[in-house]
């Protein structure tokens, strides 16, 4: 055996187990999902997945004439458009506060604010369902300031804001620590120079900190949009997509189609999501490259 063949054999020994498992449980499902989206496969074909008919783009055209799917697209965009800026503003505000020279209890605050990130959504849903009861904790607090709170999870107008709030609570810890790392890399003498020049705290934040934080901000925006476009867990554990479809997201719609046995439709819906995520990441990386 030649040296070259020997080296190839060694390399494949090292990555063989990974490649075998990755190909079977990663790549194959991705390809399989794309091909399912152009066939009429249903739950009844599970034993004979190759004995199905080619239907072309029928599922995709069906999707874009299905009012439930269009509603799911609008809901997903609603969640992304409100959820991402809200998550970023809260994460940045806390990161700036933690970075503004407090030494005492900084680690304590960071751990506390980060805690929701590590908790199981199923467990946390038990508590949040209670918080959102008509006479639950959130409405009791609102009542103190004289606001009569809605029946959050059963009111189609308030179900989405309720899930957005819960999602922001669950996720802001991640951008918070990324922002903290970004803030710590800003040279202190730049802010000091701005202060010497008579800039107020707000002015130096606006014209020194924010511009220098731009790469971090874009990384956070990319990560959040990839994550938030897949919006699924909150409607799954809290509202089952309801009431009246007001929290059905694209992912949830795909899961529902899977539940009905319409595997072709489910796959097509999931590929709409792949396209959206691919496009958005591409655009954001172009902007990122142009500005960086």
């Amino acid at each position: 055996m030649g040296a070259r063949a020997r080296r190839t054999a060694i390399a494949w020994t090292f990555c063989g187990p990974f490649i075998a498992l990755f190909a079977t449980f990663g790549l194959w499902p991705v390809i399989s999902s794309l091909s399912m989206s152009v066939t009429d496969i249903t739950a009844r074909d599970i034993r004979t997945p190759f004995g199905v008919n080619f239907v072309g783009l029928a599922h995709y055209t069906a999707l874009f004439t299905d009012p439930t799917f269009l509603r799911a697209v609008v809901n997903t965009l609603y969640f992304v458009a409100v959820g991402i800026p809200l998550t970023m503003v809260i994460a940045l505000a806390i990161a700036v506060a933690l970075n503004s020279g407090i030494r005492r209890a900084k680690g304590f605050f960071r751990v506390g604010y980060f805690a929701p990130v590590v908790t199981s959504v199923v467990a946390i849903a038990v508590v949040w369902r209670y918080l959102y009861e008509p006479d639950g904790m959130i409405n009791s607090i609102l009542a103190v300031v004289g606001i009569h709170g809605p029946d959050w999870l059963n009111d189609p107008n308030w179900s989405m804001p309720a899930l957005i709030l819960m999602a922001v609570w669950r996720h802001f810890g991640i951008p918070m620590v990324i922002f903290l790392a970004g803030l710590q890399s800003i040279p202190a003498d730049l802010l000091e120079a701005a202060r010497v020049d008579g800039a107020t705290r707000w002015q130096s934040f606006r014209s020194v900190t924010l511009p220098l934080l731009r790469p971090t901000t874009l990384v956070v925006a990319v990560l959040l949009s990839i994550g938030y476009l897949q919006f699924f867990e909150e409607p799954f554990v809290m509202t089952s997509g309801g009431p009246l479809g007001s929290t059905t997201s694209i992912s949830y719609y795909a899961y529902e189609q899977f539940g009905f046995g319409n595997y072709g439709m489910a796959s097509a819906a999931s590929y709409v999501l792949v396209a959206a995520i691919g496009l958005l990441s591409f655009v954001q990386f172009r902007i990122f490259r142009a500005r960086a």
Binding site: F14, C15, P17, F18, F25, S33, M36, V111, V127, A181
Partner: protein
């Protein structure tokens, strides 16, 4: 002389800044503390509720502190519900996935970073692309595949799809790539083969990414619920989140004492792990932006 003047001016302005900043500082601490209370309130409610009898949990107006604290809810979880078994299942699945990810990702990471083979760039490109593929896209074919392999309702069916992840290989490859080639070459000159180089030279340096990967994998698997929910069809294969999810929609949906103590059982191990390894958790998630 000049030095003295400068230091006097500096300390004077320092004193001035300190006195002027004090109210602002108090305000800052106050705001941070208020935010923290709001963030942690759901946890407090969960932990306090788990030791209340159901009557107290649903009492209106609600009471925060348990009047007659009890461990009855937890006793019921263990005696009437099979939570000890679900706990074992969750641990088994998470630990096996951690072991698989550490082993296979570090091996593959070594091959991708330090060895040459045909198709390397294409394969690594596929690993990167896989990082942004949404879970729902692979879900249906994965279900068909695992069913046809006869692995639904089995531990293997729960574990195999997650025993390697693109994130793991990506993390290990990036780290091993930064290990100087000279170290590897020096070992090779001393007559070491790749197995020896991997085990004795590269792996001992990889503790930080291995710790990150172990934490991220454990966290993801401990909290994973959608896949186990469709794969585990009988009680003996339920993981904790599956049991809790099914529990809260069934006849026990209003048994808040049981639900809250179940939630505490799911959350406590991971929160304890987080408190012990907080630095590694936070850095791992900050570096990858994923959980």
């Amino acid at each position: 002389m000049t030095a003295t003047t400068v230091s006097t001016v500096a300390s004077a302005s320092g004193v001035k800044a300190a006195t002027r900043l004090r109210p602002a500082r108090i305000l800052l601490y106050g705001a941070l503390a208020l935010g923290l209370v709001a963030t942690l309130a759901p946890f407090a409610w969960m932990f306090l509720g788990s030791i209340k009898p159901t009557g107290e949990i649903v009492a209106n107006p609600s009471v925060w502190l348990p009047r007659s604290p009890t461990f009855g809810n937890f006793q019921q979880l263990l005696s009437k519900q099979n939570f000890a078994l679900y706990f074992f299942n969750s641990t088994l699945v998470a630990v096996t996935c951690v072991a698989g990810n550490l082993l296979f990702s570090s091996m593959a990471g070594y091959a991708f970073a330090k060895l040459e083979f045909a198709g390397k760039r294409l394969l690594f490109g596929l690993v990167l692309a896989m990082l942004i593929i949404p879970g729902v896209t692979t879900f249906v074919p994965l279900f068909v595949l695992v069913s046809n392999l006869g692995l639904s309702n089995s531990y293997l069916g729960l574990i195999l799809p997650f025993v390697v992840t693109p994130l793991g290989v990506f993390l290990m490859r990036q780290f091993i790539n930064d290990v100087p080639d000279s170290l590897v070459e020096a070992a090779r000159l001393d007559g070491a083969g790749d197995a020896r180089i991997f085990l004795r030279v590269v792996l001992p340096l990889c503790r930080p990414p291995l710790a990150t990967l172990a934490i991220l994998t454990f966290l993801a698997q401990w909290n994973n619920f959608l896949w186990p929910l469709v794969i585990a069809q009988t009680e003996d294969h339920y993981t904790l989140p599956v049991a809790l999810a099914l529990f809260s929609v069934g006849a026990n949906g209003t048994n808040y004492g049981l639900l809250l103590s179940g939630a505490v059982t799911v959350v406590t191990p991971i929160v304890l792990l987080f408190l012990v390894l907080q630095k590694q958790f936070i850095q791992g998630i900050a570096n990858t932006g994923l959980k």
